[in-house]
């Protein structure tokens, strides 16, 4: 009798288990489907830009519907960006190259100098004792919580009074002083470094700067990399600041300004393939770096933007 009962319960249990597993498989498939559909939605616009960049101008102008798959793949649009550029002669090089070069130095100079300055400041706040340090830190922290983004346009008045508009100075100089949010982030990271390590360096005769360069910086390298990536993406993609301050001066044109004007630089019917090719080339550097360093990228952006 008992035997039968346990048998029955076992059967019921097995049945339940079976049902549960089936339900699990169903929900797993549903989840996977939703995720795949979302991924396809995200990549659809990237696809149309990529495919148009490989379509010839003749093919685009010959039909009245969108070309999902060109009859002949061509790279001519990519060549056109360099050869068909009406400003190339006066600038001495294709606008794309000029703008890429400008973007690079306008991004890297303030970013690298700013990171070093922020790194030293965070080092002072975390590891060098001076009177009033905690009070100063609290003051700086409260100041930086004020959301000043709304004043980025009206800051034009200040830079105009300095006579800096029409030059890259408003884009570069403020960055050279480092940023307070970077200071908070790095300080938090430094606090994980034991004071004994710093003290040992001091006893070994290293100066303050020497301790930073030889000991602190190598230990906090992941934090610096995170901040670098966060800052690089932000500056590389920035559009409003160059637009506001460079006054349309072609010698200072940045990659984003070039892309924004692409329809004026390459006007006419069927030039969409050139516009799309330019968009692809503009996005390519970041996407290539991203593919190789995705983990650092994702960490950098997630960690880099959390304040205080």
């Amino acid at each position: 009798m008992e035997q039968v009962q346990t048998n029955q319960t076992e059967i019921v249990r097995a049945k339940n288990k079976h049902q549960k597993r089936r339900k699990n498989i169903v929900s797993k498939t549903t989840i996977l489907t939703v995720l795949i559909v979302y991924a396809l939605l995200l990549f659809f616009p990237l696809y149309i830009v990529l495919i148009t960049s490989f379509t010839s101008v003749e093919e685009i102008t010959s039909t009245t519907s969108f070309i999902w798959w060109p009859k002949n793949f061509t790279f001519s649009s990519y060549g056109n960006i360099f050869t068909g550029d009406i400003y190339a002669e006066s600038l001495g090089a294709p606008t794309l190259l000029i703008s890429f070069w400008n973007t690079m130095w306008m991004t890297l100079i303030p970013l690298i100098v700013g990171l070093v300055v922020s790194g030293l400041s965070a080092f002072a706040f975390a590891k060098i004792k001076f009177p009033g340090r905690e009070k100063l830190f609290r003051f700086a922290f409260i100041l930086s919580t004020v959301p000043l983004g709304a004043l980025s346009v009206i800051s034009y008045t200040f830079f105009s009074m300095l006579g800096w508009t029409g030059t890259p100075l408003p884009i570069i100089v403020p960055g050279l002083f480092g940023s307070m949010t970077t200071v908070f982030f790095l300080k938090m990271y430094y606090e994980g470094i034991p004071d004994s390590v710093i003290e040992a360096a001091r006893i070994d005769g290293l100066s303050t700067i020497g301790t930073f360069v030889r000991i602190v910086f190598p230990l906090a390298l992941p934090a610096f990399v995170a901040q670098f990536i966060f800052g690089f993406v932000g500056r590389y993609n920035n559009y409003l600041m160059p637009l506001l301050y460079l006054d349309g001066d072609m010698q200072y044109i940045t990659l984003q300004l070039f892309l924004a004007q692409i329809t004026d630089i390459f006007p006419g019917d069927g030039q969409e393939s050139v516009h799309c090719a330019a968009a692809v080339l503009g996005m390519l550097p970041l996407i290539v770096i991203y593919v190789f360093l995705q983990k650092l990228f994702i960490e950098g952006i997630a960690v880099g933007s959390v304040k205080g």
Partner: protein, 339 residues
């Protein structure tokens, strides 16, 4: 994660340089030793930069609310009898140089700005939904994370180029080809703002998905087990365990998202340029945000003292708006932490 790595590195460093246990140095921090002065100077540099490049614009724009400002020379402020406020808020008062009724532009852009800022709430929901699905550890979870983040690293200029091509008004446009329609999506007042909304919804969730990744991983698994023992189903667990567990991240994303939403400039200006219709911010100003209005006022060709003042007023409206929202959300957060 990062901290763990740091401590590993630290211990490696310690074994490489065995610390000699000497007597501790005399207590520092109360005196202005040369080292303390170096420390103070190093600590101060970012603060000085902040005070110069954020403080002065703040002060000058505040003065410009009430004064005519000569933006080509430092100094020279003259009281303008609320001219900037009149230009922005009063419908009867039109801009002298253009005869434009700026107040109608202002109220219109206020509406569009709130509309676009509210899209951030939808963004947050998408990010949350996708993150919860990803947290079930489906096959290819890592690949999904990598893919979903791609839109976030695309510049708004490239994103606008992409979506303008998608919404192209010719019959050969992508959407028109798909629907066999002939609608000028980017010029038709009914659809213009929605094209901006689509571009924002495409780009913005990636950030939230990444931020939620860590938050969801940190929710205490013991709580899920306890809830299961109490007979909670999946929905209950989500509502009573997951949501409270990720609340700090949601709160952060909400502040960051809504603030960014109110400050929308790039994507709106690039999707719907000013154009030749005579309107600022595209046909019927359907793409005009407050940032764009402020930008237009400070960069238009016939810049006068009153347009600078008006631009300041618009910027300060935005500043007070974003500051208030941050402040309210902070207070709310503090209150809920006390409970």
């Amino acid at each position: 994660m990062m901290e763990k790595r740091a401590s590993v590195l630290v211990s490696a460093q310690e074994t490489a340089h065995p610390v000699e246990r000497r007597a501790r140095l005399p207590k520092q921090g109360r005196k202005w030793t040369p080292q303390a002065i170096v420390g103070l100077i190093l600590a101060l540099i970012p603060l000085i930069g902040f005070l110069i490049f954020s403080g002065f614009p703040l002060i000058i724009s505040f003065i410009a609310l009430f004064c005519d400002v000569d933006i080509y020379h430092l100094g020279g402020f003259t009281w303008n009898n609320f001219e900037g406020f009149k230009v922005v808020f009063s419908p009867e008062y039109s801009l002298p140089t253009y005869g434009l009724d700026m107040a109608s532009y202002f109220y219109k852009s206020l509406g569009i700005t709130f509309w676009l800022a509210s899209v951030q709430l939808v963004t947050l929901l998408i990010a949350l939904g996708v993150s919860v699905l990803l947290a079930t550890r489906p096959r290819g979870q890592k690949v999904f994370y990598v893919l979903y983040f791609v839109p976030y690293i695309c510049s708004s200029v490239a994103v606008a180029l992409m979506w303008r091509w998608f919404f192209n008004g010719e019959p050969s446009g992508v959407l028109n080809s798909l629907l066999h329609t002939n609608i000028r999506w980017l010029e038709e007042p009914k659809t213009m703002t929605w094209t901006i909304v689509v571009a924002i919804l495409w780009q913005a969730p990636g950030y939230g998905i990444i931020m939620y990744k860590a938050a969801l991983a940190n929710v205490d698994t013991a709580q899920y087990e306890a809830a299961s023992l109490d007979g909670a189903n999946g929905w209950h667990k989500f509502w009573y365990v997951t949501l409270p567990g990720i609340a700090p991240t949601t709160f952060f994303l909400l502040i960051a998202g809504v603030t960014a939403g109110f400050l929308t400039y790039d994507i709106a200006a690039l999707m719907i340029p000013d154009g030749w219709t005579g309107y600022i911010g595209g046909n019927e100003s359907r793409g005009l945000t407050l940032m764009r209005l402020s930008y237009w006022l400070i960069t238009n060709e016939q810049l006068t003292a009153s347009t600078v003042s008006a631009s300041s007023v618009v910027s300060w409206v935005l500043f007070l708006l974003t500051a208030t929202i941050s402040w309210i959300l902070f207070k709310r957060r503090e209150k809920s932490m006390e409970d």
